[in-house]
Amino acid sequence: MKRDVRVAILTMEGTNNEEEAYQSFRHSDSSPEIVHLKKFENRTRRLDSYDVLFFPGGFSAGDYVRAGAVMAARIRAKIKRDLENFVEDGRPVMGSCNGFQVLVELGLIPDTGKSYAVEAALAPNASNRFEARTVYLNVRRGNCLFLDGFSDGEIIKLPIAHSEGRFVPRDSDVLRRIVKEGLNVLTYVSGSGKEEGYPWNPNGSEHNIAGICNRRGNVLGVMPHPERIFSRFTETDWTRERRGYDIGNRFFESAVRFIREKY
């Protein structure tokens, strides 16, 4: 019998993408559950009873202070140790959009140094606008377990929708280590695969960084929304392309496969 892969999709007021994340994991042959942060805080649920943790996008707590700040502060206050154990155990953790912002605020990404220091931020877009569009991304797999289903140099398309997505590293050392270790697994490129400016890089991210994986390869944060493309009929230009595949699922299928193989 196939092993049941349990996925926790973390929710609180203002997180928005839990529904499509749920569907994405369901379509990827796992058993997702949407769990309110409260339940981890008051211990009616335990992190270690799940195999995969997903931080959905949206506007946790309205993103009022700063995107992801309130959610990260609550997690740090109440379940920091549990989460670190989860990560150190090698289990997959992924965040998209607001989820990426939370992971960065928690220091789980890029984590190029020691002990989860905050090494980066996702600052307001250079355009000073919310940007909802489709972007092209260059994939550099590295050892990121979520990218198992892609090949190096593959160009993929995903939707973005955010106003704070400009990746800013703390200093040039952090940036250097990110690049050196190949943690910048997804970068914004133009339709022809080149690194060009706005709007191909929709937010002004340093080094066109769209997604970062930790060194161990089990924590991935991305600004775009793979969970919104679990069906190819939600790609913006599917009416032009007769071929096609459900690109978003590849992220989630990889994680599910990883659990089945390793645990």
């Binding site: 707590a61 309205g62 009022y64 202070v65 309130v70 502060a73 609550r74 206050a77």
Partner: protein, 75 residues
């Protein structure tokens, strides 16, 4: 050079949901001593010449809506 600090807040009669959200977060972080949080925007503006008066014009023309906002200029 003139340096202005312009603070735009919501009038007391208008509900500040951002403030409410921060209040809730601080309480959840264990700060039971927080009674109230109000939020606002602040603009630090450098003029080659001008006065507080100019700042008040900025409030009126761009930065604030008198129906919901209060605008304070510090020179």
């Amino acid at each position: 050079m003139v340096e202005l600090r312009i603070t735009v807040t919501l009038k007391r009669t208008v509900e500040d949901s951002e403030g409410g959200s921060v209040l809730k977060a601080l309480k959840l972080l264990g700060y039971d001593n927080v009674k109230d949080v109000r939020t606002g925007k602040v603009y630090f503006i450098t003029l080659t010449k001008g006065s507080k008066k100019t700042g008040e014009e900025f409030c009126e023309k761009l930065l604030a809506n008198p129906v919901i906002n209060e605008c304070v200029v510090d020179g």
